[in-house]
Amino acid sequence: MNHHAAPTIVVENASLKFENKTVFQDLNLTLQGGKLTCLLGASGVGKTSLLRLIAGLSEPDFKGNTAQAGNLISYMAQTDLLLPWLTVLDNVLLGSTLRGSTSPREKAHELLANVGLGSALNLFPRELSGGMRQRAALARTLIEDTNVVIMDEPFSALDAITRYNLQTLAAELLRDRTVFLVTHDPLEALRIADEIYIMSGSPASLHSPFTLKTKTPREISSEELLELQPILFTELLKASETTV
């Protein structure tokens, strides 16, 4: 697949009401083609709603346009969503099974080896650690080979070191795709994002994004990361005041 064709996704005038409460109104967001965009914000501010909207997972009372129509997306959630009755290999092949298309078994082997699960092909999810499960979920996301990848706090349930390693792995394997990643961890965003948005307020709005220039994944000691960290923190602190 030609990842140079990774599309830019434009969300225009998105509004969402939930039980008479306006979650957000007239929201505009651009996900640059082939770039990784992070969305930061406090819990409950509406990050996941916006993500579901872009992923085409129906939300009631939504108005607005997203230009993702026609683009296939793949989706990775906070929980691994591995099916407990399938082996790691069959879980990775789930998409082709559910579509009834031929299973790309060789590619699955290759991807599982890439995420360090080459020897766990025939294990069941219950036999894996949290980090291994999330790596299997990453392989399942990658095998879909879509130009657009949507991720909802994919590493938040992991310990700091496992999370760090998975961020590195994900940033490398997702390069040149249009990625939208929701997180509440500013360090995660600073390590792997090309653009960072902050969502805050009620109804929620988006701040003009931070654009990062250096190549991802960034080291903890990266100059750009260290320079932006206090600024991002200050913004998040301000944002939290407007949300409450």
Partner: protein
């Protein structure tokens, strides 16, 4: 002390208490026989007990299998054709509101004294726990899995077959456990109402003839069979659905 040795000690203690009670109050054997007399009866009538037990076992197993099939089919109907649920549910509830004892004589009239009326009683008693458990399981598929399937452009029936049904199996398994526990009751109730074979028939018959020791022997046979059936089914379900513990 492990479960087995505790069980054995409890069992022997109860037997001892029983024996003491009968001796102390000199209870006549036509009211309460001693454990020894019951074991003696078990041994003397072993051929009779075995052949009668075979009838009850066949009725129970056939009732259980048909009940599971019927229960699963009903649950699938209710999921696939939502409007049917509205019409089917009251009928299901009515079928459960009528005591089995009340409807069993009718089943004997309709289906005869043979095995079919007993199987029908069993099916009637146990299909509802199956239907209800499976239906619940099918409706409660993890929303995350369904979202994932949607982003994968999954075909609807494939989602049903590869996700919703396996996800409902742990729930179905608990319904099957309940059904397994009550299946022998269904068969015996059917036999009490009208039969010429089976452990229920033997119990009723020996009761009328004041052969209380034989009645106890039949009861013990029934208990042993029921326990064996339950634990075998439980073990089988654990083996077949290993993901039910975490689900």
């Amino acid at each position: 002390m492990n479960t087995l040795s505790r069980g054995i000690i409890l069992f022997l203690g109860l037997i001892l208490l029983w024996e003491t009670l009968v001796i102390t109050f000199s209870i006549p054997p036509y009211i309460l026989p001693t454990p020894l007399e019951v074991f003696n009866s078990l041994f003397v009538h072993k051929n009779l007990l075995c052949s009668e037990a075979m009838t009850t076992i066949t009725e129970t197993l056939l009732g259980l299998i048909l009940g599971i099939l019927f229960g699963c089919a009903t649950a699938l109907c209710m999921v696939f054709f939502r409007p049917i649920t509205l019409w089917l549910l009251p009928i299901l509830l009515i079928s459960q509101a009528i005591p089995t004892f009340a409807i069993a004589p009718l089943l004997v009239i309709w289906l005869g004294y043979g095995m079919s009326s007993k199987i029908a009683t069993t099916v009637l008693m146990l299909f509802f726990p199956i239907t209800s458990a499976f239906f619940d399981g099918l409706r409660r598929t993890d929303k995350g899995w369904l979202d994932l399937a949607k982003t994968m452009q999954a075909k609807k029936w494939r989602v049903f077959w590869y996700i919703r049904i396996p996800a409902a199996l742990p729930s179905l398994a608990s319904g099957m456990r309940v059904a397994t526990a009550i299946a022998p009751i269904g068969a015996v109730v059917g036999e009490w109402v009208g039969a010429s074979k089976g452990l229920g028939y033997l119990m009723l018959n020996s009761n009328e003839r004041m052969q209380i020791d034989l009645m106890f022997a039949a009861l013990i046979t029934l208990i042993v069979f029921s326990l064996l059936l339950y634990f075998s089914v439980d073990k089988l379900l654990r083996k077949l659905i290993p993901w039910q513990i975490e689900a």
